[in-house]
Symmetry: D2
């Protein structure tokens, strides 16, 4: 992973400096604070700040529902109720800020989630580092033959070797040329006094989409769960899913009750359409429903079979 010695020192210094606060604190998350969790070959995720905890969710729900809920519900039950019934605003009372290092093509997927605050490293102002993502051999997947957005078997032998070489050489060459156009070396020293150097905002266009960028990304817990539901899902591209999974780990340290409810009512949950629900009821009543008698399309019938555990 890509932390310089200097950065590691900064992190250690930040971790060493403790202060006193009246705000809610979460020791399990404090233990992780600032530390970089490695993701992919040069990326990381680290929590750099947070606000609120499980109790803040409960507190917000209780201001909404007033005196009525004060005695009645204990925290876990209330949080599960909120999650199950899509009450989103109490979860918005918690906020978290990540520092993330990630390939540009992953960043482009990620940024489609608009309900977050972002400060990205700007290649218009500064020079990017010589770092780019190269898939591990077991992640070098072929295009799926059945699913336009999916992956098939892992490439092997000569084809795999050729792909790896192309990815590595093209990224390296384009980075070399990037520096050459900037008229700089890796240390930022001028290469040739006789040249002016292309503007950074132009030179960056020669970089490949697997170059690494980084950003601060801050969001509330409701929107983070929405992000995680889509990106920690099995259908998400592997290269973003590993970030989502690392973040989900930090959420479990932060708000364990909400994270448990999220797993039960979102990640592990399924939605039955009106038609599917009707079929499940018929099946439970003992009817032997077939695709033909179900009225579902083949695709939906297959999805239903997976849901009820009868696939394959």
């Amino acid at each position: 992973m890509a932390l310089t010695a200097e950065q590691q020192q900064e992190i250690e210094a930040a971790r060493a400096a403790e202060g006193r606060t009246r705000r809610p604190t979460v020791p399990a998350l404090e233990a992780l604070l600032f530390q970089a969790i490695p993701v992919l070959d040069h990326g990381f995720v680290r929590v750099v700040d947070y606000m609120g905890d499980d109790a803040a969710i409960v507190q917000a729900a209780r201001v909404s529902y007033g005196r009525g809920t004060r005695a009645a519900n204990e925290d876990r039950g209330l949080i599960r109720y909120l999650m199950r019934h899509w009450h989103s605003t109490p979860f918005e009372m918690c906020e978290i800020k990540f520092h993330v290092k990630l390939p540009i093509f992953v960043a482009r997927q990620w940024i489609r989630h608009r309900t977050a605050n972002v400060n990205e490293y700007s290649a218009r102002y500064s020079v990017l580092d010589r770092e780019f993502y190269l898939p591990a051999p077991d992640k070098l997947a072929a295009q799926s033959a059945v699913n336009r957005q999916g992956r098939g078997a892992v490439l092997e032998g000569e084809e795999a070797a050729r792909v790896m070489a192309l990815l590595r050489d093209d990224a390296a060459r384009n980075y070399d040329h990037y520096l050459e156009m900037l008229n700089e070396d890796d240390q930022g020293r001028v290469l040739d006094e006789g040249r002016q150097g292309l503007a950074r905002e132009l030179a960056r266009m020669n970089l490949t989409l697997n170059a690494y960028t980084q950003w601060y990304w801050k969001t509330d817990l409701h929107n983070l769960f929405h992000f995680l539901r889509l990106r920690a899902d099995a259908h998400a591209q592997y290269e973003i899913r590993v970030y989502a999974e690392a973040m989900l780990g930090t959420v479990e340290a932060w708000v364990p009750l909400a994270a448990e409810a999220f797993r039960d009512y979102r990640l592990g949950a399924v939605t039955l359409s009106a038609q599917m629900l009707d079929i499940v009821r018929r099946m439970l009543a003992g009817e032997a429903v077939t695709q033909e008698s179900s009225g579902l399309s083949k695709r939906e019938w297959r999805e239903l079979q997976e849901i009820v555990g009868r696939a394959g």
Copy 2:
């Protein structure tokens, strides 16, 4: 102000419980934390959580602008530069959560700012308290004759007395009837076992718009500044302006550099249109510009006179 003894105790208990954190802390804001700042006759604002500080703004700006800015700028100058040039994302890295008690007609103005997280006390679930806003005598203003949304002179004598009596009596009577329809007394006890009591979600419609509600309101610093620019402004209605001013005080404790820049570049700043700018340049070149020779409408000319300090 409307804190019960029980609430005061809760606040004292929360203030007494300090923990240790690796997050940035702001002692000047910690000193205010949880304490209710009185606003209007029964309202308050209190900070119940926060994330980030002036340094977090600087840190976010520096990840955006990269190695380039590290040495060059000291914090105050950088924050002022960001504010002056409308760089909003670094300010979004700070977050604050308020607990506010406010009249419903103020809440209705406030909620038009959509970029915040809100959990409001629900009169659908719970019974509202017997509290409503009555203007102080010096705030009982007449309709302005020249400005449709403005206030004129303060009402006096018989007219003032009559207005005060109407506001007070109508709010009280409607609240009494609210409880009667609910079939409850002030302590939540059933009034008449022979009645069912109207549903809370219906009974609330008998309340007046000066009844107090409360909410948690959480936003980032950029959006808070936007709110304060509009609501701490002299043209804002007095009853919301006093909330904005109380909040601005807490912001000054929290992020003093950003708050100073906000005062200089937003609150105390003026915008000159292309036409106004041209006129100011002509005036500075010695030309005696009149409304006629300015090309401005009378209204804009008057606004320009106020800006350049030549009004009235």
Copy 3:
């Protein structure tokens, strides 16, 4: 319903004026355009503008998924796929603008949906009309004994009469006093030259929460569906549900394929938690699961029984 003769004329004039456009048009929605659909006793909903149609959703999906989808899917199947798999951005390509007249307490629920554009009639600038919501006798429900936010049986006899009288008299009296404080009559004429009249922005606080307000409300189809899912639901308060249902009717005229998918995959759909899904699978495998052996709380078990159609 509350349209003046003048307003009816304006609507007729607007409906009579047709123009030519290259944009997609939807004849079934054009037929409804501008017409007020009555809701509650004085409210209405009317569509005043729209952008896009079912084909615009398909077109957006195809730009996202590129050449690949061009031939493969017909429109209905693609729209259903998008809805089923939570692809929200294609639905955001359609936009609709409503003009709504509604009681203030309904407006306060409604505005919690922040992802819309709103222009509300301002009682700070103008005088509200003498109109307030009074429930029809069969909607005058008691507080539910089992559900804090629900309604029980309809009030009857003396209690119903008393409640109706209180609601009617208080709203009327408060409106009379509102005008008196403004020093205006119903036609906007000054009542007493010797008085100044209270500022509108203050006088409005004497109004009751069942007074009618109105607004333009504009949103995209994805966010509209989110609104309708929550507000056309059986758990929503009746007084907002009737607005949602009227709007859903206009959506069916506008984007029939998307509306059908919405009914099947959202309104009529259910979500099974990870635990519920496991139980359903066990039941389908022939196991006789009881609440005790299910591991669910009583509340969730009851919810599951309702889902699988075995409640009661």
Copy 4:
């Protein structure tokens, strides 16, 4: 510009198909509808749908301000007033949808404006075309020596030739390798039956940041003006500014009164800080203010000199 014959035909067909509508129509924008406005070497902007017009802004303002404004203001004056006094919601009542083809590094700047709806061509599903941005010779600027995000003189001679060759060759080679890894030719035919082809979602990472992508981008007029204020500004990078300027042209056809107000009160306007305002007043009173006596930093003093037209 990069429209295939097939696309041109589709556009002509769409333009030929007119329908009747009761919605507001804007003939000047209808005349432009669907037509691609060339931008950069292979990009374009085209308006594909719109909602509302200048009158819709006025109508929304009047529902907000009620009966009061009906007679008083004519449209142009009211729109200018709204713009001058930062009343944003009436402008949100207009919506526009663009189809844009643009280099990926421009798309990455653009997407930072989060208040829009976007459907982007997905290189996860489909294969990108062989098109990449190469700056025209007079746009091949050196890095500015004085401004980290600015451009200096245009590169010339050998340096320019070398930069152009690198940009062109690297983009072309990387695209060739992209197809090779996909195991496809330019027509989508399999290259080598003995290979599987790398998954599209992985192969795309080999593309350079000047490759072209495309999207539908839909936003309301208020947020569009915000975008244009930042991106049609002289400080914006040239490669995004040309898109903003093309879009501003379409806005002038669409809402001429709002566009004029935007030019006067935003694009051509300046903001004076509290300190600057004080200095301008002193200057107008005849005082000869210097940087030293101004209290401004050198940087701000220089900015003020530019504002009052005394720079250089």
